[in-house]
């Protein structure tokens, strides 16, 4: 319809010039200029083909109506050949020039539009990425402005085959998923012909890693503009990822701080009444001089209070470790100091039975968190105390590890009933203390083992990393 109208209009214009020139009897050269103007207008409006054909038709009309012999396509004077040829050449040239200028103007206009679209996209992306959905909206708007009739933004979760559609416009045939994945995998853009313009698939790549694909269907936008849009979107995806990660970290930090203050409050609130009970029990014992029965009862209550205190310590230590709080804080710790601290912690045990302590002269210091190592030791000594007959000594030994030079071994030796035959039964029999000791040892880079002791009883072994002092200073 449109094309036919162009042809009709072109014919009408040439006919009008011919009729006008012929009717009022203009001379040939004036008519020539009128024809040129007509061809120029036709080219401008109808394009190169219309312009060229109009040039030829105008040349024929010019010859037919205005060069002698009139009303024939023959030419009498040789000079007129030159005039006609010059007319044809100028006419075609004008037509081409006009069309080229118009094309350049159109391209410039398209570029300007694309640049504006990209600028708008970058503003959209960097002003509002924190808002949920902002990315998808910006992608959709950019595609629309780039003249795409469909398509959208698809991001990858870990792999190009796990796709998450952020925004999509128009139909989405199933096979498109493979194209999207393929473009992501190869990290190369893909252009396919389509009934309207072309379909372009652009990978979103940041740091060499494909994060998604931008699909523009039926677009005539330049590759340059589409690639820029994909690049802006990729940057924005990365930025959003950073924002999310940092929010996540912030949340973690806050919950860590909360856990710390909670644990500290619990620790304070549980230990305070136990401290008060301990002090009052001592006062009671002091006053019960001469009343053996009362002293014994007071002593038993004090022992149980001690046990309760140690359980609370154990549970709080576990909670701290589990909360990721008390990151073990290792420092060189002499085993003799651990034994000494164990004695202070378990005064009842050390009063109730003899405890012998031996540290090999060449035993290295342990590189452990002293509080955690002490807790392990206290738990194992307490276990040994529980299973040993009254009055029988417990032995504490520290020595270099027999095989591993980077370790040392603490041993708690008792003369209890020994280990049950089934290796797994020990946990049930020996209780929570051993389990906690195991976890604490693991957190310290150590381990715990139980073995039968020659002559009866059990050896509990705590293997701990050794602190290696600089050799040149050892002398």
């Amino acid at each position: 319809m449109h094309r036919a109208f162009v042809w009709l209009a072109a014919l009408a214009a040439l006919a009008a010039v011919t009729a006008f020139g012929w009717g009022i009897g203009l001379n040939a050269s004036t008519v020539g200029f009128l024809y040129l103007i007509a061809v120029l207008l036709i080219s401008l409006w109808g394009g190169l083909l219309a312009g060229t054909i109009a040039s030829v038709v105008a040349t024929l009309c010019y010859n037919f109506f205005f060069f002698r012999p009139l009303y024939t396509l023959t030419i009498a004077e040789p000079a007129n050949w030159f005039a006609l040829a010059a007319f044809l050449i100028s006419s075609v040239t004008v037509s081409r020039l006009v069309v080229a200028a118009r094309g350049q103007a159109a391209t410039a206009e398209q570029r300007r539009k694309e640049l504006g679209t990209l600028y708008g996209l970058s503003i959209d992306l960097f002003a509002a990425t924190n808002r949920v959905g902002a990315l998808g909206e910006a992608a959709g708007r950019a595609l629309q402005l780039l003249g795409a009739r469909g398509g959208g933004l698809v991001l990858f979760d870990e792999s190009p085959y796990r796709q998450r559609v952020i925004s999509w416009n128009g139909e989405k045939p199933e096979e498109i998923e493979d194209l999207i994945a393929g473009v992501g995998r190869h990290k190369e853009p893909l252009e396919l012909p389509s009934p309207l313009g072309r379909d372009v698939y652009l990978p979103l790549v940041i740091g060499g890693k494909p994060t998604g694909t931008l699909v523009a269907r039926g677009t005539e936008a330049s590759m340059h503009a589409l690639e820029s849009a994909a690049w802006l979107l990729a940057l924005s995806v990365e930025r959003q990822r950073f924002v999310e990660e940092s929010a996540h970290l912030q949340g973690l930090r806050e919950s860590e701080a909360l856990k710390t203050s909670l644990l500290r409050a619990i620790s304070h609130d549980l230990t305070t009444p136990i401290t008060a009970i301990t002090i009052r029990m001592e006062s009671l014992r002091r006053r019960a001089v001469g009343d053996d029965e009362l002293r014994e009862v007071a002593g038993a209550i004090a022992d149980e209070t001690e046990r309760l205190r140690r359980r609370i310590d154990n549970l709080l230590s576990m909670a701290r470790l589990e909360a990721g709080r008390a990151k073990p804080h290792p420092e060189p710790t002499p085993p003799a100091d651990l034994f000494r601290a164990a004695r202070e912690n378990l005064s009842q045990v050390f009063i109730a039975r003899p405890v012998t302590v031996h540290v090999d002269p060449d035993c290295p210091d342990a590189n452990v968190d002293p509080s955690l190592a002490l807790e392990i030791l206290v738990n194992l000594v307490e276990n040994a105390h529980r299973v040993s007959p009254p009055g029988v000594p417990i032995e504490l030994v520290a020595r270099r590890h027999p095989i591993d030079a980077d370790k040392l071994r603490l041993e708690v030796l008792d003369r209890g009933p020994g280990l049950p035959s089934a290796a797994d039964a020990d946990v049930a029999q020996r209780g929570l203390g051993l389990e906690i000791a195991r976890s604490l040892a693991a957190a310290n880079g150590g381990s715990i083992g139980l073995a039968p002791r020659p002559g009866g009883g059990t050896v509990a072994r705590i293997d701990l990393p050794a602190a290696l002092l600089p050799v040149e200073e050892r002398a």
């Binding site: 500290r264 409050a265 304070h268 230990t271 301990t278 006062s283 804080h329 003799a336 210091d365 600089p470």
Partner: protein, 229 residues
């Protein structure tokens, strides 16, 4: 004891305040109590106690504020009542100027020993000879006698022993030790201190398996024990 020493007890828990107060009185001390940092500062200013026992975690105004306020103008010994697992708090309190700490729950005997050690330390100017159960340190003559037998120490070991023993009962940070003894070689590391300390302990401890004079203080450094428990 002609005039009994006055001890200020600061704890938000009434049961602790009362029981501690009772035990300290039974041991011959006079006591005054306060329930938080602010009250503690007020009591410190009006009563001028000889020693302060303070909890750290208290509502309104905590133990750290109290320690800072006291240390702004006085050298009165401060013993902190800390809880297990709060090592960072313990170190912070010592940094602010506290002299010692006991970890809740503590036994009365342990607390009394710490209190006595602090009062003794402030009582006397450094004497020419420091005597402990079986250990005698003659500062001027740089002579150390352990169990009737003279112990030969290197100059560094003697300096370490002198520093710890004159501060008996007070936990000493490794940094403090380096600053005092290795003044001229500030690049000295904690490992250097540990090596010298380890050989010193081997020389003066009657039984290195069961140290009775010098113990490592987790998170802090070392402490010289004035009297065995």
């Amino acid at each position: 004891m002609t005039v009994s020493s006055l001890i200020l007890i600061v704890d938000d828990d009434a049961a602790i305040r009362d029981s501690l107060s009772k035990e300290l009185r039974a041991a011959g001390y006079a006591t005054v109590t306060a329930s938080d940092g602010r009250e503690g500062v007020a009591a410190f200013e009006t009563r001028a106690p000889d020693l302060v026992l303070t909890d750290l975690a208290m509502p309104r105004s905590d133990g750290f504020e109290l320690i800072s306020a006291i240390r702004a103008g006085a050298r009165t010994p401060i013993v902190v009542l800390s809880v297990r697992g709060a090592d960072a708090d313990k170190v912070r309190a010592l940094d602010l100027g506290a002299d010692d700490f006991v970890t809740k729950p503590f036994s009365v005997a342990e607390l009394m020993a710490r209190v006595r050690a602090q009062l003794r330390r402030t009582g006397a100017s450094t004497p020419a000879t420091l005597s402990f159960a079986e250990l005698t340190i003659e500062i001027e003559r740089r002579r150390v006698v352990q169990g009737g037998r003279e112990v030969r120490l290197t100059p560094t070991e003697f300096a370490l022993l002198e520093l710890l023993a004159t501060n008996a009962g007070k936990p000493m940070f490794i940094d403090q030790i380096i600053a005092r003894i290795w003044r001229d070689t500030p690049s000295t590391t904690a490992d250097t201190v540990r090596v010298h300390m380890s050989s010193l302990r081997k020389k003066i401890e009657p039984d290195p398996s069961d140290p009775r004079y010098i113990i490592t203080e987790p998170w802090v450094g070392y402490r010289f024990i004035a009297e065995p428990l």
